[in-house]
């Protein structure tokens, strides 16, 4: 019984602490810095606080957008967009799927492989991955950091860039079926 309880406490500790090891590690460097090089550490602290303040509002907006996207979209809905033809509609839908997809890219590999095996074109798969550089939920952060004009430019070049990469991939890979 005691063994079980000790094990439970250990598990709870690991769950809570693990993601925070990196920031705690950096914070401990600040602690050391305060002791040995207080002037530079104060500058560093002020810089960090100013970045945090700058990010607070857009990060809150990003959270709200994440909730809205989670409410109305699911991986199943998004991957359905990829099975379309190579027409303009197909390109539009695979772009939309990439833009709306969330989470790390490797999360999507099993589903993309599955779609590729079922006949989705190289273009759509590559386009999906490329369009992931446009993150609607992070647009508030991008706007606050970089301003509206740069954000518009960045989104535009990301969109066009993804299409160019997808085209190159489809040209280079279409005659070489992957194993």
């Amino acid at each position: 019984m005691n063994q079980g309880r000790g094990f439970s406490i250990f598990l709870r500790f690991k769950i809570l602490i693990r993601p925070w090891l990196f920031p705690f590690g950096i914070a401990s460097l600040y602690g050391l810095g305060m002791v040995f090089v207080p002037e530079n550490t104060n500058i560093a602290l002020h810089r960090s606080v100013s970045i945090f303040l700058q990010l607070a509002l857009p990060i809150c907006l990003a959270l709200i957008m994440m909730v809205v996207f989670n409410r109305f979209l699911s991986p199943a809905v998004i991957t359905r967009f990829l099975g379309q033809s190579t027409s303009i509609k197909g390109v539009f839908l695979s772009s939309l799927a990439g833009i709306l997809s969330m989470g790390p890219v490797y999360a999507w590999y099993p589903l993309l492989k599955n779609l590729k095996d079922k006949g989705a074109s190289q273009f759509h798969v590559a386009n999906f991955i490329g369009q992931r550089s446009i993150k609607p939920v992070l647009l508030p952060v991008l706007v606050i950091c970089w301003g509206g004009y740069f954000t518009t430019l960045f989104v535009f070049v990301s969109f066009i860039g993804a299409l160019i990469v997808a085209y190159i991939v489809s040209l280079s890979c279409s005659d070489f079926p992957e194993k």
Partner: protein, 263 residues
């Protein structure tokens, strides 16, 4: 929700192992988006503590459910006290085991909902689920973002700007190249690239270098390359990443052209 499973292979196509302590790999799958992380298991050669070690690994990654062939009752009891569900006698492929579990769970939820409110949907529950998922996604990148911001502060406080700028010569081509290189190596949520890019820009790094870094951050992934090659083929992965790198450099010039070098 995260599910931990012992697997014979480092992919969702592997077979569910009978015990956590003997598995070569431990996979933790996020059911919201089917993303997964792979941990090296203890394998057959490990001693009697291997099972506990494996459980603490997957639970440490946030697993709330464990699917396995067999697990010792005292470990199972300890886990259930923590609110972690343990499902035993699971076999077959990892992907199948997870989808079967999700199906059985959603069926149970549907039946429960039907019993509670016959003939009515429960939109407030969907919002609650969405809020829960959003908070989990938010929490998943928050510690790293805080760490990155603190680290940037340290860099700005301790490393002279000239040192940081020495990598970026001021030549648009060279800056774009180095920016794209850094973006290709670093990984993580793109919000980190916006903050790092802004920080570099504020100390004088050219817009082309910063834009290339931000574009390559998502489009090129050296760290994910093995996983991408395995899933989509080595030719596909290589060409996509090389083209992504070249396009990141090229598009950074387009941005500089339109923005006139300033934001």
């Amino acid at each position: 929700m995260k599910i931990g499973i012992p697997s014979s292979e480092p992919s969702l196509e592997g077979m569910v192992e009978s015990k956590l302590g003997v598995a070569d790999y431990l996979i933790v799958i996020e059911t919201d988006d089917m993303s997964f992380e792979i941990l090296k298991g203890s394998s057959q050669s490990s001693g009697p503590g291997a099972g506990v070690q494996a459980v603490s690994l997957v639970v440490g990654m946030g697993a709330q459910v464990i699917l396995v062939g067999y697990i010792s009752p005292y470990i199972s009891n300890a886990l259930e006290k923590q609110g972690i569900e343990v499902v035993t006698q699971v076999s077959g492929s990892v992907f199948k085991a997870v989808t079967n579990y999700i199906d059985s769970r959603s069926l149970a939820v549907k039946v429960e909902n039907k019993e509670l409110r016959p003939g009515k949907s429960m939109p407030q529950n969907q919002w609650a689920v969405a809020i829960g998922m959003g908070l989990r996604q938010f929490y998943s990148f928050l510690p790293m973002l805080i760490g990155v911001v603190l680290l940037l502060g340290l860099f700005q406080g301790f490393v002279p700007q000239q040192t940081l700028l020495s990598l970026f010569s001021g030549s648009a081509l060279q800056d774009s190249f180095w920016g794209a290189c850094i973006g290709s190596i670093l990984a993580g949520n793109p919000v980190n690239s916006y903050v790092i890019g802004k920080s570099l820009f504020s100390i004088g790094v050219g817009l082309s270098g910063v834009t290339a870094l931000m574009l390559a951050w998502v489009n090129v992934g050296l760290i994910q390359l093995p996983a991408e090659s395995k899933a989509l083929g080595i030719r596909f992965a290589l060409i996509r990443n090389i083209a992504g790198f070249a396009v990141a450099v090229m598009m950074s010039f387009v941005v500089v052209w339109f923005a006139g070098g300033s934001v």
